[in-house]
Protein backbone atom coordinates (compact mmCIF):
# COMPACT_ATOMS: atom_id res chain seq x y z
CA UNK A 1 0.00 0.00 0.00
CA UNK A 2 2.62 2.51 1.10
CA UNK A 3 4.93 1.16 -1.57
CA UNK A 4 2.31 1.96 -4.21
CA UNK A 5 1.85 5.49 -2.95
CA UNK A 6 5.57 6.02 -3.03
CA UNK A 7 5.85 4.99 -6.64
CA UNK A 8 2.91 7.14 -7.57
CA UNK A 9 4.45 10.15 -5.82
CA UNK A 10 7.84 9.79 -7.40
CA UNK A 11 6.48 9.29 -10.92
CA UNK A 12 7.92 11.99 -13.20
CA UNK A 13 5.51 14.86 -13.79
CA UNK A 14 6.15 17.39 -16.53
CA UNK A 15 7.91 20.34 -14.89
CA UNK A 16 6.13 23.65 -15.51
CA UNK A 17 8.08 26.04 -17.66
CA UNK A 18 9.82 28.28 -15.18
CA UNK A 19 9.43 32.00 -15.90
CA UNK A 20 12.66 33.88 -16.13
CA UNK A 21 13.61 35.38 -12.77
CA UNK A 22 14.95 38.54 -14.31
CA UNK A 23 12.45 41.06 -15.67
CA UNK A 24 12.72 44.49 -17.14
CA UNK A 25 13.54 47.11 -14.50
CA UNK A 26 13.54 50.86 -14.56
CA UNK A 27 17.08 52.28 -14.14
CA UNK A 28 18.24 53.03 -10.63
CA UNK A 29 18.16 56.79 -11.09
CA UNK A 30 14.53 56.75 -12.20
CA UNK A 31 12.97 57.96 -8.88
CA UNK A 32 15.31 60.97 -8.86
CA UNK A 33 14.63 61.51 -12.56
CA UNK A 34 10.86 61.45 -12.09
CA UNK A 35 11.23 63.75 -9.09
CA UNK A 36 13.22 66.30 -11.09
CA UNK A 37 10.90 65.99 -14.09
CA UNK A 38 7.72 66.47 -12.03
CA UNK A 39 9.28 69.40 -10.18
CA UNK A 40 10.21 71.05 -13.49
CA UNK A 41 6.72 70.41 -14.89
CA UNK A 42 5.11 71.84 -11.72
CA UNK A 43 7.25 74.97 -11.93
CA UNK A 44 6.32 75.31 -15.60
CA UNK A 45 2.60 74.89 -14.87
CA UNK A 46 2.82 77.29 -11.96
CA UNK A 47 4.57 79.99 -14.00
CA UNK A 48 2.25 79.50 -16.95
CA UNK A 49 -0.87 79.80 -14.77
CA UNK A 50 0.75 82.61 -12.77
CA UNK A 51 0.16 81.03 -9.37
CA UNK A 52 1.84 82.89 -6.55
CA UNK A 53 1.55 80.13 -3.93
CA UNK A 54 4.51 77.79 -3.81
CA UNK A 55 2.30 75.33 -1.93
CA UNK A 56 0.33 74.71 -5.10
CA UNK A 57 3.55 74.11 -7.03
CA UNK A 58 4.66 71.59 -4.47
CA UNK A 59 1.35 69.74 -4.44
CA UNK A 60 1.32 69.51 -8.24
CA UNK A 61 4.90 68.23 -8.17
CA UNK A 62 3.97 65.58 -5.59
CA UNK A 63 0.92 64.38 -7.55
CA UNK A 64 2.85 64.37 -10.82
CA UNK A 65 5.66 62.38 -9.18
CA UNK A 66 3.32 59.62 -7.98
CA UNK A 67 1.37 59.50 -11.29
CA UNK A 68 4.49 59.53 -13.48
CA UNK A 69 6.10 56.78 -11.40
CA UNK A 70 3.00 54.62 -11.67
CA UNK A 71 2.58 55.04 -15.44
CA UNK A 72 6.24 54.45 -16.28
CA UNK A 73 6.60 51.54 -13.91
CA UNK A 74 3.45 49.72 -15.00
CA UNK A 75 4.45 50.15 -18.65
CA UNK A 76 7.96 48.79 -18.16
CA UNK A 77 7.91 46.57 -15.07
CA UNK A 78 4.34 45.35 -14.60
CA UNK A 79 1.59 46.18 -12.12
CA UNK A 80 3.08 44.57 -9.00
CA UNK A 81 6.29 46.58 -9.30
CA UNK A 82 4.24 49.68 -10.13
CA UNK A 83 2.22 49.30 -6.91
CA UNK A 84 5.43 48.87 -4.99
CA UNK A 85 6.88 52.04 -6.48
CA UNK A 86 3.68 54.02 -5.83
CA UNK A 87 3.72 52.95 -2.18
CA UNK A 88 7.39 53.95 -1.90
CA UNK A 89 6.65 57.31 -3.55
CA UNK A 90 3.80 57.96 -1.11
CA UNK A 91 6.11 57.25 1.81
CA UNK A 92 8.64 59.71 0.42
CA UNK A 93 6.03 62.40 -0.23
CA UNK A 94 4.63 62.02 3.30
CA UNK A 95 8.13 62.13 4.75
CA UNK A 96 8.83 65.38 2.93
CA UNK A 97 5.48 66.85 4.01
CA UNK A 98 6.34 65.99 7.61
CA UNK A 99 9.87 67.33 7.45
CA UNK A 100 9.03 70.68 5.76
CA UNK A 101 7.36 72.37 8.76
CA UNK A 102 10.00 71.06 11.14
CA UNK A 103 12.91 72.15 8.99
CA UNK A 104 11.41 75.54 8.20
CA UNK A 105 10.61 76.15 11.87
CA UNK A 106 14.18 75.32 12.84
CA UNK A 107 15.55 77.44 10.00
CA UNK A 108 13.46 80.51 10.85
CA UNK A 109 14.22 80.23 14.57
CA UNK A 110 17.94 79.80 14.06
CA UNK A 111 18.29 82.50 11.39
CA UNK A 112 16.25 85.10 13.29
CA UNK A 113 17.34 84.03 16.76
CA UNK A 114 21.09 84.18 16.14
CA UNK A 115 20.86 87.93 15.47
CA UNK A 116 20.97 88.90 19.15
CA UNK A 117 21.92 85.62 20.80
CA UNK A 118 25.31 86.09 22.44
CA UNK A 119 26.96 86.04 25.84
CA UNK A 120 25.46 89.39 26.78
CA UNK A 121 21.94 88.22 25.92
CA UNK A 122 22.32 85.09 28.06
CA UNK A 123 23.72 86.88 31.12
CA UNK A 124 21.55 90.02 31.36
CA UNK A 125 17.95 90.67 32.34
CA UNK A 126 15.48 93.22 30.97
CA UNK A 127 15.93 95.48 34.01
CA UNK A 128 15.78 99.12 32.90
CA UNK A 129 15.51 98.28 29.19
CA UNK A 130 12.39 99.68 27.52
CA UNK A 131 10.74 96.89 25.50
CA UNK A 132 10.97 98.67 22.13
CA UNK A 133 14.71 99.38 22.37
CA UNK A 134 17.67 97.11 21.67
CA UNK A 135 19.65 95.53 24.53
CA UNK A 136 18.61 93.49 27.50
CA UNK A 137 18.65 89.73 27.72
CA UNK A 138 17.05 86.47 28.74
CA UNK A 139 18.94 85.66 31.94
CA UNK A 140 16.00 86.23 34.32
CA UNK A 141 13.73 84.09 32.13
CA UNK A 142 16.33 81.33 31.86
CA UNK A 143 16.74 81.28 35.66
CA UNK A 144 12.94 81.20 36.01
CA UNK A 145 12.51 78.28 33.59
CA UNK A 146 15.35 76.28 35.15
CA UNK A 147 14.01 76.76 38.67
CA UNK A 148 10.34 76.22 37.88
CA UNK A 149 11.00 73.16 35.70
CA UNK A 150 13.52 71.84 38.23
CA UNK A 151 11.09 72.17 41.12
CA UNK A 152 8.27 70.65 39.07
CA UNK A 153 10.53 67.69 38.25
CA UNK A 154 11.54 67.28 41.89
CA UNK A 155 7.85 67.01 42.78
CA UNK A 156 6.50 65.11 39.78
CA UNK A 157 9.26 62.57 39.11
CA UNK A 158 9.12 60.79 42.51
CA UNK A 159 5.31 60.93 42.65
CA UNK A 160 4.98 59.62 39.10
CA UNK A 161 7.65 56.95 39.59
CA UNK A 162 6.11 55.63 42.79
CA UNK A 163 2.61 55.67 41.29
CA UNK A 164 3.88 53.60 38.37
CA UNK A 165 5.64 51.18 40.73
CA UNK A 166 2.38 50.81 42.67
CA UNK A 167 0.37 50.19 39.50
CA UNK A 168 2.75 47.61 38.05
CA UNK A 169 4.06 45.81 41.14
CA UNK A 170 1.36 46.07 43.79
CA UNK A 171 -1.88 47.43 42.37
CA UNK A 172 -4.82 45.18 41.78
CA UNK A 173 -8.55 45.65 42.06
CA UNK A 174 -10.62 48.80 42.15
CA UNK A 175 -8.01 51.21 43.50
CA UNK A 176 -5.50 50.43 40.75
CA UNK A 177 -8.20 50.73 38.09
CA UNK A 178 -9.30 54.06 39.54
CA UNK A 179 -5.71 55.35 39.59
CA UNK A 180 -5.17 54.28 35.98
CA UNK A 181 -8.42 55.98 34.95
CA UNK A 182 -7.55 59.27 36.65
CA UNK A 183 -4.02 59.24 35.26
CA UNK A 184 -5.56 58.91 31.79
CA UNK A 185 -7.92 61.80 32.52
CA UNK A 186 -5.06 63.91 33.87
CA UNK A 187 -3.04 63.35 30.69
CA UNK A 188 -5.68 65.36 28.87
CA UNK A 189 -5.85 68.32 31.27
CA UNK A 190 -5.14 71.57 29.37
CA UNK A 191 -2.36 73.56 31.00
CA UNK A 192 -4.63 76.58 31.52
CA UNK A 193 -6.97 74.43 33.64
CA UNK A 194 -4.10 73.30 35.87
CA UNK A 195 -3.11 76.97 36.15
CA UNK A 196 -6.66 78.04 37.09
CA UNK A 197 -6.89 75.27 39.67
CA UNK A 198 -3.78 76.52 41.46
CA UNK A 199 -4.87 80.14 41.01
CA UNK A 200 -8.06 79.38 42.92
CA UNK A 201 -5.98 77.84 45.72
CA UNK A 202 -3.67 80.82 45.64
CA UNK A 203 -6.59 83.23 46.02
CA UNK A 204 -8.23 81.07 48.67
CA UNK A 205 -5.14 81.18 50.91
CA UNK A 206 -4.17 84.69 49.90
CA UNK A 207 -0.77 83.68 48.50
CA UNK A 208 1.44 85.80 46.27
CA UNK A 209 2.50 84.69 42.79
CA UNK A 210 5.83 82.87 42.83
CA UNK A 211 7.88 80.43 40.80
CA UNK A 212 6.87 77.68 43.18
CA UNK A 213 3.17 78.10 42.39
CA UNK A 214 4.01 77.79 38.69
CA UNK A 215 6.10 74.70 39.44
CA UNK A 216 3.12 73.11 41.19
CA UNK A 217 0.96 73.62 38.11
CA UNK A 218 3.72 72.22 35.89
CA UNK A 219 4.03 69.22 38.23
CA UNK A 220 0.32 68.48 37.78
CA UNK A 221 0.89 68.40 34.03
CA UNK A 222 4.02 66.29 34.37
CA UNK A 223 2.86 63.54 36.73
CA UNK A 224 0.58 61.65 34.31
CA UNK A 225 3.25 61.65 31.58
CA UNK A 226 5.83 60.24 33.99
CA UNK A 227 3.36 57.62 35.28
CA UNK A 228 2.44 56.43 31.80
CA UNK A 229 5.98 56.14 30.46
CA UNK A 230 7.37 54.55 33.63
CA UNK A 231 4.48 52.08 33.74
CA UNK A 232 5.22 50.93 30.19
CA UNK A 233 8.92 50.57 30.99
CA UNK A 234 8.28 48.55 34.16
CA UNK A 235 5.92 46.25 32.28
CA UNK A 236 8.76 45.48 29.86
CA UNK A 237 10.92 44.05 32.66
CA UNK A 238 10.60 40.26 32.32
CA UNK A 239 8.76 38.54 35.15
CA UNK A 240 11.53 35.92 35.30
CA UNK A 241 13.89 38.53 36.75
CA UNK A 242 11.46 39.32 39.56
CA UNK A 243 11.01 35.60 40.27
CA UNK A 244 14.76 34.98 40.16
CA UNK A 245 15.29 37.67 42.75
CA UNK A 246 12.40 36.57 44.96
CA UNK A 247 13.63 32.97 44.82
CA UNK A 248 16.97 34.14 46.21
CA UNK A 249 15.11 35.24 49.31
CA UNK A 250 15.20 38.93 48.43
CA UNK A 251 12.22 40.88 49.83
CA UNK A 252 9.85 42.36 47.29
CA UNK A 253 10.75 45.99 47.95
CA UNK A 254 14.46 45.27 47.47
CA UNK A 255 13.67 43.29 44.33
CA UNK A 256 11.90 46.34 42.91
CA UNK A 257 14.65 48.71 44.03
CA UNK A 258 17.67 46.64 43.00
CA UNK A 259 16.48 44.51 40.09
CA UNK A 260 13.35 45.94 38.46
CA UNK A 261 14.17 49.67 38.51
CA UNK A 262 17.82 49.32 37.39
CA UNK A 263 16.70 47.14 34.47
CA UNK A 264 14.22 49.82 33.36
CA UNK A 265 16.20 52.92 34.35
CA UNK A 266 17.17 53.89 30.81
CA UNK A 267 13.57 54.02 29.62
CA UNK A 268 12.36 55.71 32.78
CA UNK A 269 14.96 58.49 32.40
CA UNK A 270 13.91 59.03 28.79
CA UNK A 271 10.27 59.28 29.88
CA UNK A 272 11.06 61.83 32.59
CA UNK A 273 13.16 63.90 30.18
CA UNK A 274 10.37 63.92 27.60
CA UNK A 275 7.94 65.02 30.30
CA UNK A 276 10.31 67.86 31.22
CA UNK A 277 10.54 68.85 27.57
CA UNK A 278 6.76 68.97 27.47
CA UNK A 279 6.33 71.29 30.44
CA UNK A 280 9.30 73.54 29.60
CA UNK A 281 7.22 75.18 26.88
CA UNK A 282 4.08 75.85 28.94
CA UNK A 283 3.07 79.50 29.05
CA UNK A 284 -0.45 79.63 30.48
CA UNK A 285 0.23 78.52 34.08
CA UNK A 286 3.26 80.85 34.23
CA UNK A 287 1.12 83.82 33.21
CA UNK A 288 -1.43 83.05 35.91
CA UNK A 289 0.80 81.96 38.74
CA UNK A 290 4.30 83.38 38.30
CA UNK A 291 3.10 86.68 36.88
CA UNK A 292 6.21 87.51 34.86
CA UNK A 293 8.96 89.94 35.69
CA UNK A 294 11.66 92.04 34.04
CA UNK A 295 14.06 91.53 36.93
CA UNK A 296 16.31 88.75 38.10
CA UNK A 297 14.65 86.85 40.92
CA UNK A 298 16.58 83.77 41.91
CA UNK A 299 14.21 82.84 44.75
CA UNK A 300 11.37 80.74 43.34
CA UNK A 301 9.46 80.84 46.64
CA UNK A 302 9.10 84.59 46.85
CA UNK A 303 7.92 87.08 44.27
CA UNK A 304 7.25 87.08 40.54
CA UNK A 305 9.62 85.43 38.09
CA UNK A 306 9.80 85.13 34.36
CA UNK A 307 10.25 82.06 32.18
CA UNK A 308 11.33 81.44 28.60
CA UNK A 309 7.90 80.84 27.05
CA UNK A 310 6.48 83.80 28.99
CA UNK A 311 9.40 85.97 27.86
CA UNK A 312 8.80 85.03 24.22
CA UNK A 313 5.12 85.96 24.48
CA UNK A 314 5.93 89.18 26.34
CA UNK A 315 8.55 90.32 23.84
CA UNK A 316 6.43 89.49 20.83
CA UNK A 317 3.56 91.53 22.29
CA UNK A 318 5.73 94.65 22.48
CA UNK A 319 5.86 94.62 18.70
CA UNK A 320 9.13 96.46 17.96
CA UNK A 321 11.93 95.16 15.77
CA UNK A 322 14.27 94.79 18.78
CA UNK A 323 11.72 92.88 20.84
CA UNK A 324 10.95 90.53 17.91
CA UNK A 325 14.66 89.70 17.73
CA UNK A 326 14.73 89.00 21.47
CA UNK A 327 11.66 86.78 21.19
CA UNK A 328 13.25 84.69 18.44
CA UNK A 329 16.52 84.42 20.34
CA UNK A 330 14.64 83.25 23.44
CA UNK A 331 12.78 80.70 21.29
CA UNK A 332 16.13 79.42 20.09
CA UNK A 333 17.33 79.15 23.70
CA UNK A 334 14.18 77.18 24.61
CA UNK A 335 14.60 74.80 21.68
CA UNK A 336 18.27 74.31 22.58
CA UNK A 337 17.28 73.60 26.21
CA UNK A 338 14.79 70.90 25.17
CA UNK A 339 17.22 69.46 22.64
CA UNK A 340 20.03 69.23 25.20
CA UNK A 341 17.66 67.47 27.61
CA UNK A 342 16.76 65.00 24.86
CA UNK A 343 20.40 64.30 24.10
CA UNK A 344 21.15 63.82 27.80
CA UNK A 345 18.22 61.38 28.05
CA UNK A 346 19.47 59.39 25.09
CA UNK A 347 22.95 59.32 26.55
CA UNK A 348 21.70 58.04 29.90
CA UNK A 349 19.44 55.47 28.22
CA UNK A 350 22.35 54.10 26.21
CA UNK A 351 24.71 54.14 29.19
CA UNK A 352 22.27 52.39 31.54
CA UNK A 353 20.73 49.96 29.07
CA UNK A 354 21.12 46.25 29.97
CA UNK A 355 24.36 45.06 28.50
CA UNK A 356 24.51 42.23 26.03
CA UNK A 357 28.11 42.25 24.84
CA UNK A 358 30.52 39.38 25.37
Amino acid sequence: MSQATMTKDTAPTPAPVAPSLAGKRLPRWSPIGFGALSLALAVGVGLAADWQSKVQWGLIAAILFVVLTFIASSAVEGTRQAKDRVATSFVWVCFLLAIIPLASLLWVTVSRGLKVLDGYFLTHSMAGVPGFEVGGGVYHALIGTLEQVGLATLIAAPVGLLTAVYLVEYGKGTLAKAVTFFVDVMTGIPSIVAGLFLLSIMLMFNLQPSGFMGALALAILMVPVVVRSTEEMLKLVPNELREASLALGVPKWRTILKVVLPTAVGGITTGVMLAIARIAGETAPIMLLVFGSQLINTNPFDGAQSSLPFYIWEQYRVGSEASYDRAWAAALVLIAFVMILNLVARGIARWKAPKTGR
Binding site: L246, G249, V250, G357
Partner: protein
Protein backbone atom coordinates in the same frame (compact mmCIF):
# COMPACT_ATOMS: atom_id res chain seq x y z
CA UNK B 1 22.86 21.40 56.01
CA UNK B 2 20.36 19.56 53.83
CA UNK B 3 16.81 19.19 55.06
CA UNK B 4 14.01 16.68 54.65
CA UNK B 5 10.73 17.83 53.13
CA UNK B 6 7.45 16.27 54.26
CA UNK B 7 4.41 17.24 52.25
CA UNK B 8 0.94 16.27 53.42
CA UNK B 9 -2.46 16.94 51.88
CA UNK B 10 -1.21 19.76 49.67
CA UNK B 11 -3.50 21.37 47.07
CA UNK B 12 -2.68 24.47 45.00
CA UNK B 13 -5.05 26.81 43.21
CA UNK B 14 -4.92 29.50 40.54
CA UNK B 15 -7.90 31.61 41.53
CA UNK B 16 -10.72 29.09 41.63
CA UNK B 17 -8.96 26.53 39.42
CA UNK B 18 -7.44 23.67 41.37
CA UNK B 19 -4.08 22.85 39.77
CA UNK B 20 -2.89 20.03 42.06
CA UNK B 21 -4.92 17.92 44.43
CA UNK B 22 -4.05 16.43 47.79
CA UNK B 23 -0.39 15.55 47.35
CA UNK B 24 1.59 13.84 50.11
CA UNK B 25 5.20 12.77 49.80
CA UNK B 26 8.60 12.81 51.48
CA UNK B 27 11.74 14.18 49.90
CA UNK B 28 14.87 12.68 51.46
CA UNK B 29 17.80 14.93 52.38
CA UNK B 30 21.04 14.71 50.34
CA UNK B 31 19.34 13.01 47.43
CA UNK B 32 17.90 13.92 44.07
CA UNK B 33 14.17 13.55 43.63
CA UNK B 34 12.84 13.85 40.07
CA UNK B 35 9.28 14.82 39.12
CA UNK B 36 8.05 13.45 35.81
CA UNK B 37 4.67 13.57 34.11
CA UNK B 38 2.83 15.05 31.14
CA UNK B 39 2.59 18.80 30.55
CA UNK B 40 0.03 20.57 32.67
CA UNK B 41 -0.03 17.92 35.40
CA UNK B 42 1.18 20.38 38.03
CA UNK B 43 4.83 19.34 38.52
CA UNK B 44 6.10 22.90 38.29
CA UNK B 45 3.23 24.24 40.38
CA UNK B 46 3.99 21.66 43.06
CA UNK B 47 7.68 22.55 42.92
CA UNK B 48 6.85 26.23 43.40
CA UNK B 49 4.76 25.47 46.47
CA UNK B 50 7.91 24.07 48.12
CA UNK B 51 9.47 27.51 48.49
CA UNK B 52 6.29 29.59 48.51
CA UNK B 53 6.89 30.93 45.01
CA UNK B 54 3.42 29.75 43.96
CA UNK B 55 1.76 32.62 45.79
CA UNK B 56 3.79 35.13 43.75
CA UNK B 57 1.59 34.26 40.76
CA UNK B 58 -1.58 36.39 40.80
CA UNK B 59 -4.39 34.31 42.31
CA UNK B 60 -1.99 31.62 43.61
CA UNK B 61 -3.21 29.91 46.78
CA UNK B 62 -2.16 26.80 48.69
CA UNK B 63 -3.87 24.45 51.15
CA UNK B 64 -2.09 21.77 53.16
CA UNK B 65 1.24 21.39 54.88
CA UNK B 66 4.87 21.40 53.82
CA UNK B 67 7.19 20.42 56.68
CA UNK B 68 10.84 21.35 56.37
CA UNK B 69 12.41 19.35 59.22
CA UNK B 70 9.22 19.67 61.29
CA UNK B 71 8.65 23.36 60.49
CA UNK B 72 5.52 24.06 58.46
CA UNK B 73 6.29 26.50 55.63
CA UNK B 74 2.65 27.57 55.50
CA UNK B 75 2.33 28.46 59.18
CA UNK B 76 0.85 31.91 59.56
CA UNK B 77 3.94 33.36 61.24
CA UNK B 78 6.42 32.00 58.70
CA UNK B 79 8.04 34.70 56.51
CA UNK B 80 8.08 33.63 52.82
CA UNK B 81 11.30 35.60 52.33
CA UNK B 82 13.20 33.45 54.83
CA UNK B 83 11.65 30.32 53.31
CA UNK B 84 13.09 31.29 49.92
CA UNK B 85 16.50 31.87 51.49
CA UNK B 86 16.39 28.29 52.78
CA UNK B 87 14.90 26.72 49.66
CA UNK B 88 16.60 28.01 46.50
CA UNK B 89 15.32 27.70 42.96
CA UNK B 90 16.67 27.41 39.41
CA UNK B 91 14.27 28.20 36.59
CA UNK B 92 13.54 26.67 33.23
CA UNK B 93 15.00 29.56 31.23
CA UNK B 94 18.33 30.98 32.36
CA UNK B 95 17.59 34.42 33.82
CA UNK B 96 20.74 36.26 34.88
CA UNK B 97 20.14 39.88 35.90
CA UNK B 98 20.88 41.87 32.73
CA UNK B 99 22.19 44.96 34.52
CA UNK B 100 24.77 43.03 36.51
CA UNK B 101 28.17 41.53 35.73
CA UNK B 102 28.92 37.84 36.23
CA UNK B 103 30.42 38.62 39.63
CA UNK B 104 27.45 40.77 40.68
CA UNK B 105 25.00 38.11 39.53
CA UNK B 106 26.55 35.52 41.82
CA UNK B 107 26.87 38.02 44.65
CA UNK B 108 23.32 39.29 44.10
CA UNK B 109 21.65 37.04 46.65
CA UNK B 110 24.02 38.03 49.44
CA UNK B 111 24.17 41.70 48.50
CA UNK B 112 20.43 42.14 48.11
CA UNK B 113 19.83 40.37 51.39
CA UNK B 114 22.35 42.70 52.98
CA UNK B 115 23.87 39.84 55.00
CA UNK B 116 27.52 39.58 54.02
CA UNK B 117 30.98 40.71 54.97
CA UNK B 118 32.81 42.55 52.22
CA UNK B 119 36.03 40.57 52.39
CA UNK B 120 34.16 37.27 52.26
CA UNK B 121 32.14 38.17 49.19
CA UNK B 122 34.77 37.36 46.57
CA UNK B 123 35.48 34.02 48.31
CA UNK B 124 31.80 33.15 48.18
CA UNK B 125 31.61 34.11 44.49
CA UNK B 126 34.61 31.95 43.64
CA UNK B 127 33.35 29.04 45.70
CA UNK B 128 29.89 29.21 44.11
CA UNK B 129 31.26 29.48 40.58
CA UNK B 130 33.55 26.53 41.25
CA UNK B 131 30.58 24.69 42.70
CA UNK B 132 28.68 25.32 39.48
CA UNK B 133 31.67 24.21 37.33
CA UNK B 134 31.84 27.64 35.75
CA UNK B 135 34.88 29.20 37.44
CA UNK B 136 37.46 28.20 34.82
CA UNK B 137 35.34 29.54 31.99
CA UNK B 138 34.59 32.96 33.50
CA UNK B 139 37.41 33.72 35.94
CA UNK B 140 39.02 36.17 33.51
CA UNK B 141 35.84 38.07 32.73
CA UNK B 142 33.99 38.38 36.01
CA UNK B 143 33.20 42.02 35.26
CA UNK B 144 31.56 41.29 31.91
CA UNK B 145 27.74 41.19 31.73
CA UNK B 146 26.19 37.82 32.60
CA UNK B 147 23.92 37.94 29.57
CA UNK B 148 26.95 37.63 27.29
CA UNK B 149 27.47 33.98 28.25
CA UNK B 150 26.11 31.05 26.26
CA UNK B 151 22.81 29.49 27.33
CA UNK B 152 24.45 26.61 29.17
CA UNK B 153 26.89 28.92 30.92
CA UNK B 154 24.04 31.26 31.87
CA UNK B 155 22.14 28.37 33.44
CA UNK B 156 25.23 27.35 35.45
CA UNK B 157 25.59 31.01 36.43
CA UNK B 158 22.02 30.86 37.75
CA UNK B 159 22.88 27.71 39.68
CA UNK B 160 25.94 29.46 41.12
CA UNK B 161 23.73 32.38 42.08
CA UNK B 162 21.27 30.04 43.77
CA UNK B 163 23.90 28.12 45.77
CA UNK B 164 25.79 31.29 46.79
CA UNK B 165 23.16 32.01 49.45
CA UNK B 166 23.78 28.50 50.92
CA UNK B 167 20.22 27.15 50.77
CA UNK B 168 19.27 23.82 52.36
CA UNK B 169 17.22 22.66 49.41
CA UNK B 170 17.62 23.38 45.69
CA UNK B 171 14.56 23.24 43.43
CA UNK B 172 15.18 22.94 39.68
CA UNK B 173 12.37 23.55 37.22
CA UNK B 174 13.38 21.81 33.96
CA UNK B 175 16.87 23.33 34.18
CA UNK B 176 18.09 21.67 30.97
CA UNK B 177 15.10 22.04 28.67
CA UNK B 178 16.60 25.05 26.89
CA UNK B 179 20.10 23.58 26.60
CA UNK B 180 22.05 21.44 24.16
CA UNK B 181 23.20 17.90 25.11
CA UNK B 182 26.71 18.97 26.13
CA UNK B 183 25.50 21.72 28.46
CA UNK B 184 22.88 19.29 29.75
CA UNK B 185 25.63 16.79 30.57
CA UNK B 186 27.58 19.51 32.42
CA UNK B 187 24.54 20.34 34.51
CA UNK B 188 23.71 16.71 35.21
CA UNK B 189 27.26 16.13 36.45
CA UNK B 190 26.85 19.20 38.59
CA UNK B 191 23.62 17.87 40.09
CA UNK B 192 25.50 14.70 41.04
CA UNK B 193 28.06 16.80 42.92
CA UNK B 194 25.54 19.14 44.49
CA UNK B 195 23.53 16.36 46.07
CA UNK B 196 26.38 15.76 48.50
CA UNK B 197 25.49 19.09 50.06
CA UNK B 198 21.89 19.90 49.17
CA UNK B 199 18.52 18.27 48.94
CA UNK B 200 17.65 18.53 45.26
CA UNK B 201 14.26 18.36 43.57
CA UNK B 202 14.24 18.46 39.78
CA UNK B 203 11.33 18.67 37.35
CA UNK B 204 12.12 17.15 33.99
CA UNK B 205 10.40 16.09 30.78
CA UNK B 206 13.33 13.95 29.87
CA UNK B 207 12.88 10.46 31.26
CA UNK B 208 16.46 9.43 30.55
CA UNK B 209 17.55 12.43 32.57
CA UNK B 210 15.34 11.43 35.48
CA UNK B 211 16.79 7.92 35.31
CA UNK B 212 20.36 9.24 35.15
CA UNK B 213 20.38 11.83 37.90
CA UNK B 214 17.70 10.96 40.44
CA UNK B 215 17.57 8.62 43.43
CA UNK B 216 13.80 8.76 43.72
CA UNK B 217 11.22 9.59 41.09
CA UNK B 218 7.67 10.85 41.46
CA UNK B 219 5.16 10.43 38.67
CA UNK B 220 2.35 13.00 38.33
CA UNK B 221 -0.67 12.68 36.10
CA UNK B 222 -4.01 14.32 35.48
CA UNK B 223 -7.29 12.60 34.73
CA UNK B 224 -8.22 14.99 31.92
CA UNK B 225 -7.48 18.52 30.73
CA UNK B 226 -8.89 20.96 33.28
CA UNK B 227 -8.75 18.39 36.09
CA UNK B 228 -6.24 18.90 38.89
CA UNK B 229 -2.95 17.00 38.70
CA UNK B 230 -2.29 14.17 41.16
CA UNK B 231 0.70 12.29 42.45
CA UNK B 232 0.42 8.77 41.07
CA UNK B 233 3.40 7.23 42.81
CA UNK B 234 6.83 7.96 44.22
CA UNK B 235 9.50 5.33 44.61
CA UNK B 236 13.15 4.48 44.06
CA UNK B 237 14.04 5.56 40.52
CA UNK B 238 15.11 2.00 39.57
CA UNK B 239 11.75 0.59 40.63
CA UNK B 240 9.79 3.33 38.85
CA UNK B 241 11.58 2.63 35.60
CA UNK B 242 11.92 -1.15 35.90
CA UNK B 243 8.87 -2.27 37.75
CA UNK B 244 6.39 0.46 38.64
CA UNK B 245 3.46 -0.49 40.82
CA UNK B 246 0.88 1.52 38.87
CA UNK B 247 -0.07 0.74 35.28
CA UNK B 248 -0.30 4.48 34.33
CA UNK B 249 3.35 5.01 35.26
CA UNK B 250 4.48 2.15 33.07
CA UNK B 251 2.32 3.44 30.20
CA UNK B 252 3.83 6.92 30.47
CA UNK B 253 7.43 5.75 30.77
CA UNK B 254 7.15 3.31 27.89
CA UNK B 255 5.46 5.90 25.69
CA UNK B 256 2.04 4.24 25.62
CA UNK B 257 0.51 7.25 27.26
CA UNK B 258 -2.91 8.52 26.15
Amino acid sequence: MAKRIDVSGLSAFYGTHKAIDDISMTVEPRSVTAFIGPSGCGKSTFLRTLNRMHEVTPGGRVEGKVLLDDENLYDSHVDPVSVRRTVGMVFQRPNPFPTMSIYDNVAAGLRLNGSYKKNELSDVVEKSLRGANLWNEVKDRLNKPGSGLSGGQQQRLCIARAIAVEPQVLLMDEPCSALDPISTLAIEDLIGELKERFTIVIVTHNMQQAARVSDRTAFFNLAAVGQPGKLIEIDETERIFANPSVQATEDYISGRFG
